[in-house]
């Protein structure tokens, strides 16, 4: 269904190559839940200006990686660097202040706060400095939220909650945006909208995006590069196009998936 969208890969590949070190770099990261290992030594990079996607089956460890980047749970081994700084042991709230934002798994909207207050929370790190301006911007991106600013977060529909989760993340003006399964449980039309917005943020605002998806087809179409995760290991990586054409990827994540 998104056959009409052109692949922006080429133009961005060169931009990414121009930066010498990756914006986010994960090296040999192992994460445990108690004694159970969830990430078994993950290596991956996100370069400035890229959309990078991570695909994998349910329970592979994708969300764990997203949260490990934020130090909750903390990596037991390995290092995570962001913009040249080692953030492996940094407190979660300090990582958030480095202009990384996350729309986490399950959206995690504050249910008893209004949409407006949820957005205010998103702008916490810069003390609401350019709140009005940013509010207007996210309301333009998601007109549905504008009509519901005084509604409580817990009463929104799934799609609206997803929009709010992304909008809230945008309120901190992040350089790197982490999105954990933004399409989960949403109607195809809304999924399409959300993917269009991600693309726009990347192309117009130069935002770097790290996208976790089960919806492999759409994610790989959109992304410049991708990684495949299987039970806590990265098993494959390549450009979006390469992965889309890879027979293993096709067999495991694409056949019968979309249309």
């Amino acid at each position: 269904m998104s056959a009409g969208t052109s692949n922006p890969m080429q133009s961005h590949q060169s931009a990414a190559a121009a930066t010498h070190q990756p914006l986010l770099s994960v090296r040999g990261v192992k994460t445990y839940y108690g004694n159970i290992i969830a990430l078994k030594g993950v290596d991956m990079d996100v370069n400035e200006g890229e959309i990078v996607t991570l695909i994998g089956a349910n329970g592979a460890g994708k969300s764990t990686l997203m949260m490990t980047i934020f130090g909750n749970p903390r990596a037991r081994e390995g290092t995570i660097t962001y913009a040249g700084r080692d953030i492996t042991k940094m407190p979660t709230h300090d990582i958030a202040r480095l202009s990384i934002a996350q729309s986490p798994e399950g959206r995690r909207i504050f249910p008893r706060m209004t949409v407006f207050e949820n957005l205010q929370m998103g702008a916490s790190i810069n003390g609401l400095a350019h709140f009005d301006q940013d509010l207007e911007r996210v309301c333009t991106l998601f007109p549905r939220l504008k009509e519901r600013l005084q509604q409580r977060g817990g009463t929104l529909s799934g799609g609206e909650q997803q929009m709010l989760a992304i909008a809230r993340a945008l309120m901190s003006r992040p350089k790197l945006l982490l999105l954990d399964e933004p399409s989960l449980g949403l109607a195809p039309l809304i999924v399409k909208q959300i993917f269009t917005i991600i693309k726009e943020l990347n192309e117009k605002d130069g935002m770097t995006v790290f996208l976790v998806e089960q919806n492999a087809y759409h994610a790989l179409k959109l992304a410049h590069r991708g990684y495949v995760m299987v039970t806590g290991n990265i098993t494959l990586s390549g450009t979006g196009k390469e992965l889309l054409e890879n027979p293993q990827v096709r067999a495991a994540y694409l056949e019968g998936g979309h249309h």
Partner: protein, 306 residues
């Protein structure tokens, strides 16, 4: 009618004090899911702080205006009790976060015992009276049989102080970024941290606010009864906790409402039935309400779409 009005006034006065203490229970429960058993003793401690500073101000420093002395005492009690609240969380609860669920609860009981023993050793076991502070009353009307329905200055001060401080507190929690961070941590600590909120500091803030309001209650309690003892933390503490549960634990308006209801039940029961059984009455009503409304009057149901 006359007795009814009089008891209504008395009940609301007492209920204000319970409500102020109940907020501390309900906020701490809301944010870390723990019943802070030491909170009643923090209240008792604040009443002692108020007593000591009232005596220092009036007898040593010779401040003759009771109103001025009370105002200064209130501020000092709030500041010092907040420090206690902050220190208790830092020393006795924070190291146990992430431990098994009962650990902080047991620690809280320990803090409660420590505080009442500390005050007993430092101040002695006997009741400590203050000189009567404010005696004036306004006679509202004369009832049948020459019974005067009166509103004392004390009661006016207690209700007005409660109303003013609750308004300030409400504004703080609803409208400021500190309050917003506090509510965010209450609803989803993990998410709040992802947005750059320092969760530990917010939890400290919650204890500080709870202790400050307990200090208001302690000062007003002293003003009302003119006497305090080292074990005065227990019964008012349990009643305030009851108020928090009755109103719906986690709900701030619920805490205040619960406090007023418990205060009213207690005074009306004493007036019309028997003073011995007033506590039984309060707790029985709690039991009955909880059977029909398990999450309290203004509490939210357990299951919730997130």
């Amino acid at each position: 009618m006359d007795i009814f009005v009089q008891q209504l006034i008395n009940g609301l006065t007492l209920g204000s004090i319970y409500g102020l203490i109940a907020i501390g229970y309900t906020m701490v429960f809301g944010i870390i899911g723990m019943v802070n058993f030491a909170h009643g003793d923090v209240f008792m401690l604040s009443a002692f702080i108020a007593l000591i500073f009232f005596l220092i101000l009036t007898t040593w420093l010779g401040i003759s205006s009771v109103a001025l002395a009370l105002l200064i005492v209130l501020v000092i009690a709030m500041v010092l009790t907040s420090l206690w609240g902050w220190a208790i969380e830092r020393i006795a609860y924070r190291p146990l976060r992430g431990s098994f669920r009962l650990a902080p609860l047991i620690s809280a009981i320990g803090v409660s015992i420590f505080l009442s023993n500390f005050v007993q050793v430092a101040q002695g076991a006997r009741n400590k009276p203050t000189p009567p502070m404010i005696r004036d009353v306004i006679v509202l009307f004369q009832g049948e049989n020459g019974y005067n329905v009166a509103l004392s200055y004390k009661q006016i001060i207690i209700m007005a102080t409660t109303a003013v401080l609750l308004t300030i507190f409400w504004y703080l929690v609803q409208k400021t970024s500190l309050g917003r961070a506090q509510r965010a941590c209450e609803q989803d600590r993990k998410m709040a941290a992802l947005l750059g909120i320092n969760v530990d500091r917010t939890i400290s803030l919650t204890f500080v606010i709870g202790a400050a309001l307990a200090a208001v209650a302690g000062t007003l309690y002293l003003l009302n009864y003119g006497v305090v003892s080292f074990n005065d933390g227990f019964v008012p503490g349990v009643k305030a906790f009851t108020a928090a549960v009755l109103g719906g634990i986690g709900s701030l308006p619920g805490a205040v409402l619960g406090g007023l209801i418990i205060g009213l039940i207690e005074t009306f029961w004493s007036a019309y039935f028997s003073i011995e059984y007033k506590d039984v009455a309060a707790f029985s009503i709690l039991a009955i309400v909880l059977i029909f409304m398990p999450s309290g009057i203004l509490g939210r149901p357990e299951v919730e779409k997130v």
